[in-house]
C-alpha cells in the first residue's frame, strides 16, 4: 500500500511503530484544514503559525495516546481546539473574519439573515459570531465552516451528540437575537 492510499489511522500506526518520516504526510493532510479552523480563533498569521506548529508537535508527542480504532480527524481537531482556546485566553484582542465561501454558508445554511450583503451587516455578523459564548461558537464553527458531523463535533469537543445539536440551534438563535437587538438587521 502506498502512503497516499493509507488511511490516517494506518499512517499513525506506521509512524508509531517504524517510520516517523511519514508524519510529514499527516502534516500535509491536515495543515490546511486545521489552519482554516484555527483562523476562526486566531487572526494574526504569525500567531496562527505558532499555534499550528504546536498542534502538530503535541499531536506527534501524543500519538500513542490516540486510539487506533477511532477516527484520527476528531482527535487532532481536539488538540487544535484546546490550543486555540489557550491562545484565545492569552490574546483578548482577536477578531474574526469570514471568507467569501463562508459568507455563502452563512447565507445558505446558517439561516441567520435572509442575505448578508452590506459591509455593515457582514461586520455585525462577524463581531457577534466572535463575541458569542465559546460553548455556542465552537459547535457552530465546526458544523457550518468546518463541515463536521455532529458525531465528529462530539468527539472534538467531548460533549454528547444531543448536546451538540442543542448548542448549534441555541447558538444560531442567540446570534439572530443579538443581531436583531444591536443592529436592527432583520429578515
Amino acid at each position: 500500500m502506498t502512503k497516499p492510499n493509507l488511511t490516517d489511522e494506518q499512517l499513525v500506526s506506521v509512524i508509531r511503530e517504524s517510520d516517523k518520516e511519514l508524519y510529514g504526510e499527516i502534516i500535509r493532510r491536515y495543515q490546511e484544514k486545521l489552519s482554516h479552523y484555527l483562523r476562526k480563533f486566531i487572526r494574526n498569521p504569525d500567531e496562527l503559525e505558532d499555534v499550528l506548529q504546536e498542534v502538530f508537535i503535541k499531536a506527534y508527542k501524543n500519538l500513542y495516546g490516540f486510539n487506533i480504532d477511532k477516527k484520527f480527524s476528531p482527535w487532532i481537531y481536539r488538540i487544535a481546539h484546546n490550543e486555540a482556546i489557550n491562545s484565545i485566553k492569552k490574546l483578548s484582542n482577536q477578531h474574526l473574519s469570514l471568507d467569501e465561501q463562508e459568507w455563502e454558508i452563512v447565507d445558505k445554511k446558517m439561516d441567520i439573515l435572509e442575505k448578508v450583503s452590506s459591509k455593515m451587516e457582514r461586520e455585525a455578523v462577524e463581531k457577534q459570531l466572535f463575541v458569542l459564548k465559546n460553548k455556542y461558537r465552537e459547535p457552530l464553527i465546526l458544523y457550518f465552516f468546518e463541515q463536521k458531523t455532529y458525531e465528529e463535533i462530539s468527539d472534538i469537543l467531548h460533549m454528547p451528540v444531543n448536546t451538540i445539536g442543542t448548542l448549534i440551534s441555541r447558538g444560531k438563535k442567540r446570534l439572530r437575537d443579538k443581531l436583531d437587538k444591536k443592529y436592527d438587521i432583520r429578515k
Binding site: I27, R28, L52, S154
Partner: protein, 255 residues
C-alpha cells in the same frame, strides 16, 4: 501554495528528526489508563462499602429508633445521625463521578445519566452488601484494635457516644425517680420525675430502654421513655458488652 515543503512541515519534521520532539512512551498511556481505572474502581467499591455501613449504622444503632417518639425524637435523631459516614459516602460518590467525567468514553452520554447510573449501582450493590455480615465484621475488627480496622473506628463512634438529647441502654438499678443506665460509655444516672408511674412500673433492671430528654445541671432529665428489644439496637448492646466486659458495675445514686 504548495504544501509539499511548507515551513511548518519543515520545522516540525526538523524537531522530530533532531530528537528534540519524541513520542511519549505507550507505557505512559497504559499506566495512565490503568491508574485511572484502578482509582475509579477502588473509589466505587469504597462508596459501595460506605453505603452499606450507613445502612448498617441506621439499622443497628439507636439512631432511627428515636423517630418512634415522633417530632420530639428529632433532636436525638439528628444528634446521633452518622454524619461522618454519610459525608464520606457522598464525597466518594463525587470523586467517582469526577473520575468518570475525566474518562475518555464518558462524554458520549449526558453526565446526569452517568451520575444517576453510578448512584444507582452504588446504592444497589451497597444494599446487597448490607444483607451480608461484612459490616458486622468491620465493626468487630474496628474494636479489636486491628490496624486496618482502627481506620473505621471514628465512623462508628457516633453510634456509641454519649448524647445530650437521647439515651439507649440497659437498666442497672432503679431508685425512686432515678435510674442507673448502662450505656456504651458509662453508667448514667437519669431523672425520670416527669414520667408517669404507670410507665415506670413496667421497667425493671436488666431491661433495655430508649429515652429522650435533655441534660440539665449534669443530669439527664427524661421526657419520654420506652422499653426496647436489645436486638433492635445491637450496636448499643455490643458497645455495652465491650465497655464493661460483661461485668455489672456498682451504682451510687447521687440523691
Amino acid at each position: 501554495m504548495t504544501l509539499e515543503n511548507s515551513p511548518i512541515e519543515q520545522k516540525v519534521m526538523a524537531e522530530i528528526n533532531s530528537g528534540r520532539v519524541r513520542l511519549r512512551s505507550k507505557y505512559i498511556y497504559l499506566a495512565e489508563k490503568l491508574g485511572f481505572a484502578s482509582v475509579f474502581i477502588f473509589t466505587v467499591l469504597l462508596a459501595v462499602l460506605f453505603f452499606c455501613l450507613v445502612l448498617f449504622y441506621l439499622k443497628t444503632s439507636d439512631n432511627l429508633n428515636y423517630l418512634s417518639f415522633g417530632s420530639c425524637g428529632l433532636l436525638a435523631f439528628f444528634e446521633s445521625f452518622p454524619y461522618l459516614l454519610v459525608i464520606t459516602f457522598v464525597l466518594l460518590v463525587f470523586i467517582a463521578g469526577f473520575i468518570m467525567k475525566k474518562m475518555e468514553i464518558s462524554y458520549k452520554k449526558p453526565f446526569s445519566y452517568l451520575a444517576l447510573g453510578l448512584a444507582g449501582v452504588v446504592i444497589l450493590f451497597g444494599s446487597a452488601l448490607a444483607f451480608t455480615d461484612v459490616a458486622d465484621h468491620i465493626e468487630e475488627v474496628a474494636y479489636q484494635g486491628h490496624p486496618a480496622g482502627r481506620l473505621f473506628k471514628p465512623f462508628f463512634r457516633g453510634g456509641l457516644d454519649e448524647r445530650n438529647r437521647g439515651l439507649a441502654g440497659r437498666v442497672l438499678a432503679i431508685e425512686g425517680k432515678q435510674m442507673a443506665i448502662q450505656t456504651p460509655r458509662v453508667v448514667k444516672i437519669i431523672n425520670v420525675s416527669r414520667i408517669e408511674n404507670k410507665v415506670l412500673n413496667t421497667i425493671y433492671p436488666n431491661m433495655f430502654i430508649l429515652a429522650i430528654g435533655e441534660m440539665k445541671k449534669g443530669v439527664f432529665l427524661v421526657e419520654k421513655i420506652k422499653l426496647i428489644d436489645p436486638e433492635e439496637i445491637p450496636m448499643t448492646l455490643r458497645g455495652i458488652d465491650r465497655q464493661f466486659s460483661g461485668q455489672t458495675p456498682p451504682v451510687n445514686f447521687p440523691f
